[in-house]
Symmetry: C2
Subunit: 266 residues, 2 copies
Amino acid sequence: MSTMQDKRQALDTDYELLYHPDIPGRGEFIRLVFEAAGVRYADIANEDQANYELVQQTCSPESTGDADGNPPPFAPPALKIRGAGRDGKDLVISQTPNILLYLGSKLGLIGSADHHLYYANQLTLTALDLANETHDTHHPIAVMKYYEEQKDAALIRSADFRETRMPKFFSYFERNLKSNESEGRGKYLVSSKLTYADTTLWQVLDGLFYAYPKEMASRSKEFPLLFDTFYPAIKAETWLQDYMNSGRRLQYSDGLFRRYPELDRQ
Amino acid sequence: MSTMQDKRQALDTDYELLYHPDIPGRGEFIRLVFEAAGVRYADIANEDQANYELVQQTCSPESTGDADGNPPPFAPPALKIRGAGRDGKDLVISQTPNILLYLGSKLGLIGSADHHLYYANQLTLTALDLANETHDTHHPIAVMKYYEEQKDAALIRSADFRETRMPKFFSYFERNLKSNESEGRGKYLVSSKLTYADTTLWQVLDGLFYAYPKEMASRSKEFPLLFDTFYPAIKAETWLQDYMNSGRRLQYSDGLFRRYPELDRQ
């Protein structure tokens, strides 16, 4: 249990995150952008479980949108931004990479030149693809069924994931760090400063260290810029250290990143 | 074989699409945006198979970027834009939704208000998620293995896809059309004009009609705005009719959308 005094009081914020309570999940990519920018946000279902009804209402499979003219989301996370919608009403947007694009642009986490936005965005999309493929290792057949019902397929899929997909993705990120080394010094993917691609990739790697500890212990030796420079350098940034010490950072459990030892390297 | 005189001569264009030849695949989402905007583009590997080497070079798993300072792509499609990169050099970007975001913004396919971009982008991301899930029905276990090696898992996954995922996605798009009905009249997802969300969703539906003809014949009765208004109305637009009659539109085969009758409704 986190102590209530550790929870950020966010009543004065323009931003409300609408997501499931208690898991980092896809909401964590969005939280990290706020934390990196030092901008207050309301994580409504974690601040008060009663608010989860509002999340479910907004993302209801019956909804045809809200009274402010916003269309319905497909699924959480969604983000409400005060006054940014039609005629100064609240704006509600959804889809993790779309929310990151919005916040990255508004909060200055997109590098320094115009075209850096598209570099940051493509890296973010690929990091989120890796997160989705991680999810699919424990749910290869049907997202609504239990892991135990699809364990045989999960064993085959996770072996393929560890042996072919992980190194393919890690090589891509390593080569991107290399491509930007003169500016980013192995620490930043785009330009010479933090972008939402860095925060997103960092979270995916951190989730993989939780889910696949043995595989990651071995793989991390193969990609030095990614694992000896990028991952620890982002982790050491003051904002991330402050966040991890704040009580706001949620523990991994049965979300996107799950630890099933039988799926890890044996 | 398509006749060469049908191929658009695109030597004078600022845009080069780098993608696999002969299949619509993910490249088709990008082609449709150019076709809708009436903007010339070079589809380099389809105009001359010899150019495919350039695509493979750009997306090589060894590349650490190009001489113009562009980072390496993860996989095709990529897009080269003349003069839009660092110091007026060529810009190379990748990831389908990132390329669509770029082109949608540059070519005026993002609606009429500032926040419409984020509505169009979230709908596009969800349509592409549906396309990815369609791909995963024939490759549920390992993307690099043959369909025949994962057919048992494909039968289970495609049943779940048809029974739970398709209606969930279709309901979402139907409710978005409903939410925007006063402006879009069931024909457009965002505002009162064509956006890249419309072209992308249309292509996913068209691919699904190819891959799952029986399931679609039945499902299409459940979502009237989507299938009686949106799909035929976009198909009837002059630019799309012209494109389909041009010889440039590629046939479906063994790409993202595949027709395996055993995976369809029985």
